[in-house]
């Protein structure tokens, strides 16, 4: 689709992608587990909208499937399940952070800047807007990863990982005409990821009565010993 036919359409897409990024940043600063889950659900909703919009703009109806899956799985089912886990296991509602909120935020902003920097075109190519969308997606991925490494709690780590995947989907749908196989595989991976996560969370609960990854440290295969 040539640029100029409808800058408006792109502006909307841009806006939605930006929304996903902003929500990613918000995720980073949430202190309470329930809030984290809620913000994540919101992010999934915005993502679904974005994917739906892309489907409209690119005239690619199959993307609607992705949008729908995202909406159902990430905005509804998973948050609900996570809320239940939090309630049932009575894990700490407060999230233990590794570094404080302020520095985390700064790091997050730095990552956003880095994303824009690396995607910034050296030579002018056809669609700079798509590149910027892409920079947002990249930032979402990095922020998800940042969230995984700045939280000690397994539930928020899982959320971080899923936020990372949101970035992936944002990127995939932003790439024009990416074949269906990819979306299917994304869905596939989300599904697998969730199932296996579930299995593991279940097993871990069964054995350790907590989902705090820290506890696992005791069971490293190899104890510290001296030569």
């Amino acid at each position: 689709m040539a640029a100029g036919t409808s800058t408006f359409l792109f502006d909307i897409a841009h806006l939605l992608a930006g929304g996903v990024l902003v929500l990613s940043l918000m995720l980073l600063v949430q202190d309470r587990l329930t809030a984290v889950i809620n913000v994540f659900a919101l992010q999934a909703v915005v993502l679904a909208l974005s994917v739906g919009w892309q489907s409209l703009v690119q005239g690619a109806p199959h993307l609607l499937v992705t949008a729908l899956i995202t909406l159902l799985a990430k905005a509804l089912i998973i948050p609900t399940a996570l809320h239940r886990i939090v309630r049932k296991l009575d894990v700490h509602r407060e999230i233990e952070r590794v570094i404080g909120g302020g520095p985390t935020m700064l790091a997050g902003l730095g990552l956003v800047a880095l994303s824009i920097l690396v995607v910034h075109p050296v030579v002018e190519t056809a669609d700079p807007v798509a590149r910027e969308d892409f920079a947002f997606a990249l930032a979402v991925v990095l922020l998800g990863l940042l969230m995984m490494i700045t939280r000690r709690n397994a539930v928020s780590q899982v959320v971080g990982f899923m936020s990372l995947e949101n970035g992936l989907i944002l990127a995939a749908t932003g790439a024009k005409g990416m074949p269906l196989v990819v979306e299917v595989s994304v869905a596939f991976s989300v599904l697998i990821a969730f199932i296996v996560f579930g299995v593991f969370v279940f097993r871990i609960r069964e054995r350790f009565d907590t989902v705090d990854v820290n506890v696992l440290e005791r069971f490293r295969g190899e104890q510290r010993e001296h030569l």
Binding site: L114, V118, V122, L146, I149, R151, R152, N214, E222
Partner: protein, 683 residues
């Protein structure tokens, strides 16, 4: 050429024979009959190889080549037998023949022959393969195979933790050497052309390296690397550390091979790479080699004097002798670079003669140590003594070995050291002032080493064979079997013969020096009275035959005169000893006390000596104690810190094994960010 086969093909057949022997050793392994079969067959094959080598050397046959379709794909395994290879084949297989013959008798005492026999043949095959290999791959493959086979022989007595430690250190040093040589070959061969065509890996053959010499800086680097690589096998300081641990750990006939023969393969590697393959070398690298050799010689013998374990003493003495060889090689390098062919030929001939000599007397001495070990079960000199009475034959031949290795005229060790001194005295001809000054200093080091070697072997022989037995084990010794004695006697005879008629061997070396230095010593057999005249009669000459004849006549005359003139009555009595009654044998001078003056003189500088005396006060009846500890500077300054560095590095890094998943993710994240920054910065 025999029966249409080229010389090198015959050599390969011999090697195949050794492999076959190794294989039969693996198959027969546990049978009693395996020992004589394996050693007997090795003896025969080794003799065949000796004959082949002699044929090539004396016939001055042109180099023969064979390319087998194995090894480097497309290029094949190149084998070449020239005079240099032939000489070292002679050295190796002479030693191997003696060791095999000795092994027929000695091997019977081996508790687990299945751990020795398969590797014995493989080891011999490996050494011979190295000598014939003519491309970098085949060379290093054989080289490392040789190391591996000998490693298996070092760890034969695997229940002793010392053996295991020695094995590890040995294999480490061997691989270090291999990789150094590999780097050297890489530099000499260059990056190599595209291998898409038919050229294959031809750039890695020696012939190609010779034809296209590398840039000067690469050649100089390659020389240093070759010195490190070959030196780690030969035992140059400070790469010698494995030697005194590994050589004693093996069964004695294998120790003889490790010490007397395999170190020579290291020398061969150096000569092959630096003199033959690398082309013209900067004269300064000669200086490096000479200094390395001189230091090695002195340090080696100093540590040899200090040892109480007989086989360790011999191993350290090997270090010394390797140093002497490298002095000769370094001089030859310097002379050759200065275009002084005759002097280079002299230095080379000295080095090669010493290679041969050392393989003979070190083999003999290790056999002797093995005989002592069989007879008494002891290697510790402090527990031996008086064996001259119970092992008379061994005592005679070992005495010849000790005198040879102490470089005493008229035996063979002296001839090669004398030639080395003559080469050193040619140093004023060198154009570089640094060399002019450094070489006489190295000469002094060589003299010191020679004198200390005398002290060392007086101690070794005196403590082990003379005096009174220090333990019941030593008192109950018995003479060893005939095979062992025959092997030792043969080597002793060769030591004497070469000492008396060195000219024959020096002439045999002429084709080698002509190939490597472009010049040869004048033919020695034509010199009247069979003297050795390296350059000119007016300059220097030595005649072992005349000296020997004079000594013989003089001793005979003295004895006759005494018989005719003097009283023949002899009275046996207890020793006088300044009037002290003959006390327990433990009052004899021990190995440590014999070495004490030398320990004192060189103590703090060389040995890092720490002494602790615990002397009871007068009237106190408890026992006094005296302890001392020597620390090899190589350990103090090189290996110790290196090992600590590795341990500490491993300790620090090991924290990475105990991180949480989150931290691992952080690691991934950090790497990702760094890589993204690189991308951002990339143009």
């Amino acid at each position: 050429m025999v029966g249409g086969m080229s010389d090198v093909a015959i050599g390969l057949v011999c090697i195949a024979g050794f492999f076959g022997i190794g294989l039969s050793g693996a198959v027969l392994g546990r049978l009693r009959i395996a020992t004589p079969i394996v050693y007997g067959a090795s003896f025969v094959v080794a003799l065949a190889a000796v004959a082949l080598a002699l044929g090539v050397l004396l016939g001055e046959a042109p180099p023969s080549m064979v390319v087998l379709p194995i090894g480097l794909p497309g290029t094949g395994a190149h084998f070449r037998l020239d005079t240099l290879s032939a000489f070292f084949v002679l050295v190796v297989d002479l030693g191997a023949a003696a060791a095999s013959f000795y092994g027929i008798g000695y091997g019977r005492h081996e508790p687990e022959p299945a751990r020795v026999l398969p590797f014995y043949g493989a080891f011999l095959a490996g050494m011979n393969l190295v000598l014939l290999a003519a491309d970098a791959f085949t060379f290093l493959l054989s080289w490392e195979f040789m190391s591996l086979a000998s490693w298996a022989l070092v760890v034969v007595h695997h229940r002793e933790s010392a053996s295991i430690r020695a094995g590890l250190l040995y294999l480490l040093m061997a691989s270090f050497g291999t990789l150094c040589l590999l780097l050297a070959f890489g530099l000499l061969a260059g990056p190599g052309a595209a291998i898409g065509g038919t050229a294959g890996f031809d750039h890695l053959t020696f012939a190609h390296m010779r034809a296209s010499p590398p840039a000067e800086i690469f050649a100089a680097l390659a020389t240093v690397l070759a010195l490190l690589g070959a030196g780690s096998k030969a035992g140059l300081m400070p790469l010698h550390v494995w030697l005194p641990l590994a050589h004693p750990a093996a069964p004695s006939h294998v120790s003889a091979l490790l010490s007397g023969v395999m170190t020579k393969v290291g020398v061969y590697a150096f000569v092959r790479i630096v003199f033959d393959v690398a082309g013209n070398i900067d004269p300064w690298s000669g200086l490096v080699v000479v200094i390395a050799g001189g230091t090695t010689a002195v340090m080696g013998v100093l540590y040899a004097v200090m040892q109480r374990d007989l086989k360790r003493l011999l191993a350290y003495s090997t270090v010394e002798n390797v140093g002497i060889v490298f002095i000769g090689l370094g001089l030859a390098l310097a002379f050759r670079a200065a275009g002084q062919g005759p002097a280079a030929a002299l230095a080379l001939a000295a080095a090669f003669l010493h290679v041969l000599n050392h393989s003979l007397f070190k083999g003999l001495l290790f056999f002797g140590a093995g005989a002592v070990l069989t007879a008494t079960g002891e290697r510790d000199t402090e527990k031996l003594g008086g064996l001259v009475h119970t092992m008379p034959h061994t005592a005679v031949v070992v005495l010849i070995g000790c005198m040879s290795i102490a470089a005493l005229p008229p035996l063979n060790g002296f001839v090669s050291e004398w030639l080395t001194f003559q080469a050193i005295l040619m140093s004023p001809q060198l154009p570089q002032w640094g060399l002019k000054f450094a070489v006489p200093v190295v000469g002094a080091l060589l003299a010191l080493a020679a004198a200390l070697a005398g002290a060392c072997f007086v101690k070794a022989y005196g403590i082990v064979f003379l005096g009174r037995p220090r333990t019941p084990a030593a008192a109950g010794a018995h003479e060893v079997d005939g095979f062992s004695l025959a092997a030792m006697t043969a080597l002793a005879t060769l030591c004497v013969l070469i000492g008396i008629l060195p000219g024959v061997v020096i002439d045999m070396l002429a084709p080698l020096t002509r190939d490597l230095a472009g010049s040869a010593l004048p033919a020695q057999v034509e010199v009247p009275w069979l003297s050795v005249v390296p350059i000119a009669q007016s300059r220097s000459s030595y005649n072992g035959l005349v000296v020997f004849a004079f000594l013989f006549c003089a001793a005979l005359m003295a004895a006759l005169a005494v018989h005719r003139l003097a009283s023949k009555t002899t009275r046996k009595s207890p020793p006088w000893d300044c009037g002290y009654p003959l006390p327990s044998p433990r009052t004899q001078y021990s190995s440590a006390s014999f070495a004490m003056p030398i320990r004192r003189v060189f103590g703090s500088v060389v040995f890092g000596l720490t002494e602790r005396v615990d002397m009871p006060r007068p009237g106190d009846t408890r026992a006094g104690h005296f302890r001392y500890r020597l620390r090899d500077p190589a350990w103090r300054f090189a290996y110790g810190p290196l090992a600590r560095f590795v341990v500490r590095g491993a300790q620090h890094l090991n924290r990475l094994q105990f991180l949480t998943i989150r931290r691992y993710l952080a690691l991934v994240f950090a790497a990702l960010v760094v890589l993204m920054l690189v991308v951002a910065a990339w143009r």
